[in-house]
Chain length 259, copies 2
């Protein structure tokens, strides 16, 4: 992707996200239509759906030959990573959205032949857009982000999935105890922004492609490490426990996971 | 306390908190001097100290006969609840302050003969001041807060202390499982604002008087319930596990705690 095409794409996506954000804010006090999916804590609302439709339509217009993988199913059935793939999470942290009207994100990313090109995470209520890619660097709103300190697990706070802590999956409780404290925010997008900013040294949760698609590109661009929980390479289309962390904390966490 | 005195007090305290906030923001990117207190996760910084000194001096000027209980010890030795007592937490969530420069609060409250009169919690980085008391109601910045929905535990998110979850104190893991999800924010002030706004149905943590002094007044004013973890009345000068929740979630949680 040449520079011109890239800046044209960034400009277009920013426009969609701002428009989608306005739309969410306009409806923020309305009564939501909430349905459960796989469990009582896996929710989808009318706004997740309308927001995904809106973004999918924008992508179709802008990039008609690309495939689209969307959380709520308005994209395509994507089975391999050939060509251009857009990954869309219209509302990440739907439980927070429903119960808090706060602490949720919109996420969008573009992969070409399995390589991450551009990622976008918008913290809707904080009006914070973190975006970028390997050719561009990472920006938070208009400010370019510098490299994150390579902190150790024992010197930082760690973002975890609540259920994984309670079930002590992969020695999650020892990971929490080794850190200076665990935090549970309930949205991959919000957690990943915190890691990108250096507020957390890492984040662990069971994730799907739309949960980590954007964050992975941003994380790798800024020198963070993102793999499966046991250190394997993360597939673009994987659904599994994901470990995002500074290089040092990643090493510390893997040591505990593999005990 | 008559109405005139009350509005004069509110105006004064708002002024101190805004001035203290400006001072913190001015130093937000500076290198902090960090010391540990009771453990490696119990921190105090030069800013906690200077901020407490600033507030204590303001109180001494404004209310010379009152006693002051401050987290960092610049107040008085307070052993009973007679008379006017100001309770000060200059930086609540010091670990977040140190590691995140985000998600921390300043808290201040006034008790007269053991009765809560006014409470103030300022989310510094969100520029959100929640304040009020039984005669005044509760305000978030300039907007009066209405009563919170009396949600059940099973219908809401619950704010917990990370260590209490990991150690499964008081059946904390069953409490998390019963709710729609646990959140761990790491600051009593930030957690209590979330409960006051209805973003969480409750919050449980081991707290000291400066951690709950302000939140207790605001919570009781707005119809929330705050007690010890086993449902006893909370003393103004107590240090123990505290349970703040909606009436319904309070009942649900007590049932699980007492199993």
């Amino acid at each position: 992707m040449d520079n011109d095409e890239q800046s044209k794409t960034v400009k277009a996506v920013k426009g969609w996200l701002l428009e989608a954000r306005d739309d969410v804010l306009r409806q923020i006090d309305s009564r939501l239509k909430v349905d459960t999916k796989s469990s009582r804590s896996d929710l989808v609302t009318n706004i997740d759906r309308s927001n995904e439709k809106f973004i999918v339509n924008k992508i179709r217009e802008f990039d008609p030959d690309a495939k689209i993988l969307g959380e709520e199913g308005f994209g395509d059935k994507v089975t391999d990573t050939k060509g251009r793939i857009w990954i869309v999470d219209p509302i990440d942290g739907t439980m927070n959205f429903v119960k808090q009207r706060n602490h949720f994100a919109m996420m969008l990313s573009l992969y070409i032949n399995g390589q991450g090109v551009l990622g976008f995470i918008m913290d809707v209520m904080n009006n914070e857009l973190v975006y970028g890619g390997p050719d561009l660097g990472v920006f938070i709103n208009t400010r370019q982000m510098v490299t994150v300190n390579d902190s150790k697990l024992q010197d930082g706070l760690i973002g975890l999935s609540g259920p994984m802590v309670v079930h002590d999956d992969f020695n999650m409780q020892e990971i929490a105890n080794t850190s200076l404290g665990m935090r549970v925010y309930g949205s991959a997008g919000i957690d990943m922004i915190a890691v990108l900013k250096g507020e957390l040294v890492g984040y662990i949760s069971y994730l799907k492609p739309w949960d980590f698609g954007a964050g992975r590109i941003l994380a790798e661009t800024i020198g963070l490490k993102i793999t499966t929980i046991d250190g394997r390479q993360l597939g673009v289309l994987s659904s599994e426990p994901v470990l995002l962390a500074t290089e040092n904390a990643h090493h510390d966490i893997l040591t505990i996971v593999k005990k």
